[in-house]
Every structure is written in C-alpha cells, then in structure tokens.
C-alpha cells in the first residue's frame, strides 16, 4: 500500500534505532507512551511508526466566525509575531502572511447550507509535497507528521504548488521575533506540525484542539490513529468521516465529519 514511503522511512529508523542502542527495544513492546501527562518528559528515543497522529474535525460543531484554533496556532508557533512589512499593500500582506490553519466556509448553492471548517496540513500518508521536494527537506516523520526540515529547504516552493490543500506558506520577510520551541526564518516553507514540540515532550495535544475545547465547541479531536482505544479512534468509530479530496488517495491524517 505504501511501500515507497514506508521503505524510505525504514532506512532512517534502522539507522536511528542502531544509534540509540539497547534502550530502543524498551519502547517497542510497552504502550507506556499513552501514560498520563504527569509522566510526560522530553523524548530520548527517536519517534517510531507505533503511532500515527491524526485529527478529526466535526464540521457541525465548527462555529461561523470563530477563529479560536487559528489564533491559538498563531500564538503557539509564533505566527502572531509577524508584522506587515513597511509600505506593503494590506491585501498583499494578507495573502503572503504565513498561515497554518485557514478557516474555510463552504456553501451548497442548491440548498444554501453553510459549512465551516478549519483546513490545515492534512498530514498525508502519501504526501505530494514530499514527492516533489528536490532537496528532501519536505519529509514525513515515522509517526506520520509531515514537516519541513528548514535546514535543507531552499525555498523553491514546489511543495506549495503540489499540495492540494494550500496548506503551506512561504516566509517572505526576515523574522525578527522567534520562539525557542518553533524556530522559523525567511526563505523557508512551513506548515502545520501538529504541535510537534508538545508531542515530543510527551503531551498528546495540539493548540488548536485545546482552544476549540476551551471555547466550548469541541469540534477537534487530536490523537493516535493507530490506537483503537484512544479518543481519536473512538470518535472516528462513532460517525462517518471523510477526507477532503478523498479521490486523490493520499490517506490524510486529518478527517472531517459532517461534510
């Protein structure tokens, strides 16, 4: 099914596993990565394909005009620290400003029914952005998170063209204010990372899902697609869901109900 990507990752996993030595074996049999947050600590072993992180969006709960997830994402990842370059056109800046989540409003012209949904990187199992990247900077982590290695990204923006979801942004301007947890700089492409810095510290949560819950909408459930007893799989089992542009066969990690 996914021989190409999986086998590519395999080489790296083997390598990292070897480098990590004996203790790598301890992670595999147990399920202790699911333990509560009190035990959370920064990880010392490389991520594995034991998990695949995903998100379920219940569009029926997503409120019109609410931007809680977008705002939380901005704060979490330092996107709120961007400022419009002097003399730049306002509209141009709105289009160029880095955005990881877009609120999209769909209207069925026949029935007039309106659907709201947040659209971010769908963390495809077969990501077109990774296929086209000439440097290997665009990559999929073993746990399914698609990211940009900003150290090798040359800013060619092929991935932006390849992504069917318009999920990626290019950083046009020098970044003056940066956060330790989310480094970002001019000349690179970036997109949603599923708050990877949280996951890597053992906290299974994302800023967007937290903010949505705090707002009382509870339209977002984040979790492990490979854990049948986890919150995400339980929520997925309860209602029919679909992928946006399912026809492309990308097997996205982000799923939508009520579409």
């Amino acid at each position: 099914m996914n021989h190409e990507t999986e086998s590519m990752n395999q080489g790296r996993r083997d390598f990292l596993g070897a480098a990590a030595g004996v203790s790598a074996a301890a992670v595999a049999p147990g399920m202790f990565l699911h333990t509560p947050v009190a035990n959370a600590a920064a990880r010392t072993e490389p991520v594995t394909d034991m998990h695949r992180w995903g998100l379920l969006v219940d569009t029926s709960k997503c409120a019109d005009g609410c931007t809680a997830c977008v705002d939380a994402c901005d704060t979490e990842n330092g996107l709120n620290l961007q400022s419009k370059p002097l003399g730049d056109d306002k509209l141009k800046w709105q289009n160029q400003r880095s955005t990881w989540i877009r609120k999209v409003k769909l209207q069925d012209n026949l029935t007039g029914n309106v659907t709201n949904l947040p659209l971010m990187c769908q963390h495809c199992e077969h990501p077109p952005c990774v296929d086209v990247c000439p440097t290997g900077a665009s990559f999929k982590r073993a746990d399914g998170i698609v990211m940009v290695d900003r150290h090798t990204c040359i800013g060619c923006r092929y991935c932006m063209m390849a992504c069917p979801y318009k999920a990626r942004s290019f950083i046009h301007e020098q970044v003056d204010q940066k956060l330790t947890r989310a480094p970002r700089g001019k000349g690179c492409v970036e997109s949603c990372t599923f708050c990877v810095h949280r996951l890597d510290s053992g906290d299974i949560s994302t800023a967007c899902a937290d903010a949505c819950s705090a707002e009382g909408h509870q339209a977002l459930v984040f979790g492990d697609l490979k854990d049948p007893t986890g919150p995400l799989r339980q929520a997925l089992a309860k209602a029919p869901s679909r992928q946006i542009r399912q026809d492309l066969g990308l097997n996205t990690g982000v799923r939508y109900t009520g579409l």
Binding site: T180, S201, D210, A214
Partner: protein, 155 residues
C-alpha cells in the same frame, strides 16, 4: 595556505590562553563567556571547554537532525540549551540577544570571522521555550486539555 596556518596559530593561542587557567586572564582572547550568564557560574560546558571550542557545531548539527527527524528534544546538545545557558543579562535582568554585539555567540564568531546564521531562525533569547514536562503538567489542568480526562468527543 597562509590562512590555514594563521588559523592554526590562532587556535593554538586560544588553547594556550585557556590552558594556563589563570583567572586574571578571563577577559583575554578566547573567553567570551559573559559574567551575567548562567554559564559563568558553571565549571564547564556540556562537554569539556576545549572540545566545545573546536567541535560545538558538530554537536549542534548532529542534534539538529536527531531533533528534526527523531523528535528528540531533551538532549543538552541542542541549540536552545546553548542559548538558555550562555545568554547574558542586562542591569534590569532582561536577557540580551545572544547574536548581538559583544554577546557570547557573536563576539567569538566575529573574532574567528565565521558567519553566524543560526539566529536567522532560532530564538536569540530564551522565549517560548520548548514544551517541557513542567509546562505539560501545568497544562494538564487547563480547561482545554484533552489528555487525562474524557476527550472532547465524549463529553
């Protein structure tokens, strides 16, 4: 060729300066640790000082791949560790940008004439630090945290 030799001489003098270990020479060439930084109060860096002078970038570069691809953020060889320990503080106790004039990273890189571009992307003062276990534990009590209680779908 001449430059290579020059570099050799410079390095030799750096090592020599340190090797003497005389406190009075702390301000001399080769010691860029700021008195106001946390590093000043420590015996040595995460590895022996001579090793760090020559090889810190090997460590940072290795760690960078471990972090980006493997998600390992707890190591003390990461650049955020360098910044949090070596950043200097002004009179009011506010951290000073580490790539600023006279600051730890910048001053040595200027002396060695090596371009410093880590901080095009990385934070120059400890701010919005990594999501560590303390932050995560505090976070578990926030209303929005889905981790320990029932998930949003089940409530």
């Amino acid at each position: 060729m001449a430059t290579v030799m020059m570099k050799g001489v410079l390095l030799a003098s750096l090592v020599a300066t340190f090797g003497m270990g005389v406190v009075a020479q702390a301000e001399e060439v080769g010691d860029y640790v700021l008195p106001s930084s946390k590093a000043a109060s420590l015996e040595n860096c995460v590895e022996p000082t001579e090793y760090m002078r020559r090889n810190h970038f090997e460590l940072i570069r290795h760690q960078r791949d471990q972090t980006v691809y493997g998600g390992i953020r707890g190591s003390d060889h990461g650049i955020s560790g360098c910044v949090s320990c070596h950043v200097g503080y002004d009179d009011k106790g506010a951290p000073v940008e580490i790539d600023g004039k006279g600051q730890f990273c910048q001053s040595c890189h200027e002396y060695a004439a090596v371009e410093l571009n880590c901080f095009d992307c990385h934070a120059t003062v400890p701010t919005g630090e990594a999501w560590n276990h303390e932050v995560a534990a505090a976070h578990a009590h926030l209303p929005g945290a889905a981790k320990t209680g029932p998930t949003s779908a089940e409530r």
